[in-house]
């Protein structure tokens, strides 16, 4: 199914270098599933006590943290500072953001692995010029309710007072966000080319094609 519009409340977190350990702490990485990480998003910022995977123990929300306040708790768009998603390659960070109900992250810059993981999971990462980000933060922080409408196809963000910001996105990344391709299937369309490359390398670099550590 084609998805072109993301519309909803913005969650502003004006911090740079938000790392994937903050987005989803390690104890939840013990899960062998891709789902159910939403309740642990920004866990240590969100709760007074540390949590455990699948624990039923209720915790005290930190009242000052934005995800514990309305209308932000129902937000769909995350607005953050530079270098979002740095650190660990854990895709769990993207799964947690998506599982929470967030469909887009707007930042001046993203860490490379996080960016790639986002595209793979139809989480839209939007890179904007610093000045645009500063403006969005100030508008967003001056009014409680602040909804944006993102048109993925047209590559536009529309603010509540109908101002339009254009954003750039790689054409293939855009398609992946809208359609959610099965990348493996696409790659396997080139199976013959992969095999022929491989056969060639088996001749040129045969030492690479052996099982490691055989006794």
């Amino acid at each position: 199914m084609k998805k072109t519009i993301i519309k909803g409340q913005v969650i502003p977190i004006n911090e740079s270098n938000i790392d994937t350990d903050i987005i989803i702490p390690k104890q939840y990485l013990k899960s062998i599933k891709k789902t159910g990480f939403g309740p642990y998003l920004f866990d240590s910022w969100r709760y007074e006590e540390p949590g455990e995977l699948d624990s039923k123990v209720s915790r005290t929300p930190k009242s000052k943290f934005i995800l514990n306040k309305k209308p932000y708790s129902n937000g769909k768009i995350l607005l953050v500072g530079d270098n979002f998603g740095c650190g660990s390659s854990r895709e769990h960070a993207v799964w947690a953001i998506k599982d929470y109900g967030i469909d887009a992250v707007i930042s001046p810059s993203f860490a490379d692995i996080f960016f790639r993981n986002s595209i793979k999971n139809q989480l839209l990462p939007i890179k904007l010029e610093k000045q645009n980000i500063i403006n969005l933060f100030s508008e967003c922080l001056s009014s409680n309710q602040y909804e944006l409408t993102i048109d993925i196809e047209k590559q536009t963000i529309t603010s509540p007072n109908n101002e339009i910001i254009k954003f750039d996105i790689d054409a293939n990344d855009k398609d992946r966000i809208m359609f959610g391709y099965d990348d493996i299937e696409l790659t396997l369309k080139n199976k013959d080319k992969i095999l022929s490359y491989e056969n060639n390398m088996k001749k040129n670099k045969p030492w690479l094609f052996k099982r490691d550590n055989e006794k």
């Binding site: 899960s31 062998i32 740095c86 650190g87 854990r90 793979k120």
Partner: protein, 467 residues
């Protein structure tokens, strides 16, 4: 056409170029572990897909394993299920798996090079950001997410856009007791934690030429802490001598051809790098991080910065936030901060040379009274055995350290090795992020020598003045 080392390995592995100028790259080696692979195998079975080539894969449990009482197995039920899931997936697909009690078991980025699984000119991936470590062997190695783990399992390839080239030239040599850990912390501090985003690093210069492979691995390992997915170092005699001692080094019939290829693995004179920085190794002093990002590092003789001295409000706020989290004051002497725990380990600094370096410093001395716990976690079964054969374990134990079994341990605290809230740790690991080593825990990163000295003193001190 003059090429960089990165250009060469990239071109060599290009299966095809897509219409968006991304390339389908062939992956020679795929390392997997228990934390980022279960969902990938799940994906394969849901789509009834097979693994492309099981011979290219090596699996090990390292992130979520106990470092004590291995004979009891894994007691935490959730962790046990995760490790068993990897074991079952490996059985099902006939993948090489190193069991917890196998001497080959260890941190994935320690065992790859150590066993000669990592070889020059390879493309190597792993669902872990510190895969950049393997670049020290002139392999193009980078961390990937779980979707890409699944993609590589199924297709042996990955679709990627090429990064830009970034040359990091380090002239002169490091001073006595200043290590490659201090050098990489210094580089990260200089270019910032996102300075390498979108780039592949190549480290070169006299300083690198004179470092051992293990010391080079520490540098490449932390490339990701400066934002670069990969950090490379050219093949040279040091690399060759290291490889010839490895179990999986190409056999006699192949070695001459392999060496012929490996000898091409350096950047051509005059190759174009889109970015470049020159570092003087002579100026590098022992480094300690004070904050919650690896770029927040100081020379041991500097004072904790005052956020007010920074120009932008962004920076003032983030530095103040880091100070608050770390429980520190502006202008405090880094040597005055008392420590609670000591961690020597991680894919950054848990190899035999690291342990020798630390052992030499603690030998015949006892850890300070304020240190509640000091642990040494060797990077692999082989590192552990080697250390024990040299009596290094006894040196640590007599000084008051605990001598553990191999794993990632307190670097990320997925197992029971964690900091308690507000505990302050001197750590040889790679990340000082909030909560990384335990909820509300406070991490100071430094070299094995500096951390060993901190264990004895109870606080950081200048190693160059003590040896």
């Amino acid at each position: 056409m003059k090429q960089t080392l990165y250009d060469k390995i990239w071109d060599e592995h290009q299966v095809l170029v897509n219409n968006d100028q991304s390339s389908l790259l062939y992956i020679d080696k795929h390392l997997i572990h228990e934390v980022t692979s279960p969902q990938a195998f799940d994906g394969l079975s849901m789509q009834k897909r097979d693994v492309w080539n099981t011979e290219t894969i090596v699996a090990v449990s390292d992130h979520n394993v106990p470092t004590t009482n291995r004979n009891l197995g894994i007691t935490d039920k959730i962790s046990k299920l995760q490790v068993e899931t990897l074991i079952n997936n490996c059985k099902k697909h006939n993948i090489n798996y190193f069991d917890l009690n196998d001497i080959n078991q260890g941190i994935v980025h320690v065992i790859g090079p150590e066993l000669g699984i990592t070889q020059p000119g390879m493309t190597l991936v792993c669902g872990d950001s510190h895969t950049s470590t393997h670049g020290a062997i002139a392999a193009l190695a980078f961390g990937i997410g779980t979707s890409d783990v699944e993609h590589v399992l199924a297709t042996q390839c990955i679709n990627l856009k090429k990064e830009k080239n970034y040359k990091i030239c380090i002239n002169n040599i490091l001073n006595d007791h200043v290590t490659s850990k201090d050098l990489i912390l210094y580089i990260i501090k200089t270019i910032g934690t996102s300075g390498g985003t979108g780039y592949t690093f190549e480290f070169m210069g006299d300083c690198i030429d004179n470092l051992s492979i293990e010391a080079r691995m520490t540098i490449c390992n932390m490339s990701i802490e400066a934002g670069a997915k990969s950090g490379l170092i050219a093949f040279d005699d040091t690399t060759l001598n290291y490889l010839l001692k490895r179990k999986n080094c190409p056999s006699k019939i192949y070695i001459d051809n392999a060496i012929k290829y490996w000898e091409t693995l350096h950047s051509d004179e005059g190759a174009v790098f889109e970015n470049e920085i020159v570092i003087d190794a002579d100026k590098v002093t022992p480094q300690v991080t004070w904050g919650t990002s690896p770029e927040m590092a100081l020379s041991i003789n500097e004072k904790i910065p005052n956020p007010e001295n920074f120009k932008t409000i962004d920076k003032q706020q983030s530095y103040q936030r880091a100070l608050d989290y770390m429980g520190l004051q502006p202008n405090q002497d880094i040597k005055s901060i008392m420590l609670d725990k000591i961690f020597i380990g991680s894919c950054t600094n848990s190899r035999i040379e690291d342990l020798r370096m630390a052992a030499q410093i603690v030998s015949g001395k006892e850890i300070a009274k304020n240190i509640k716990q000091a642990i040494v976690v060797p990077g692999s079964g082989h590192v552990k055995a080697q250390a024990e054969s040299e009596g290094i374990d006894q040196i640590f134990i007599q000084s008051g350290f605990e001598w553990r079994d191999p794993g990632c341990s307190m670097c990320l605290g997925m197992n029971e090795d964690q900091l308690e809230p507000y505990e302050r740790c001197a750590s040889t690991s790679n990340r000082n992020f909030e909560g990384r080593q335990g909820d509300k825990g406070r991490t100071h990163l430094a070299s094995p020598a500096m951390v060993a000295l901190a264990a004895i003193k109870g606080h950081f001190d200048d190693i160059t003045e003590h040896m």
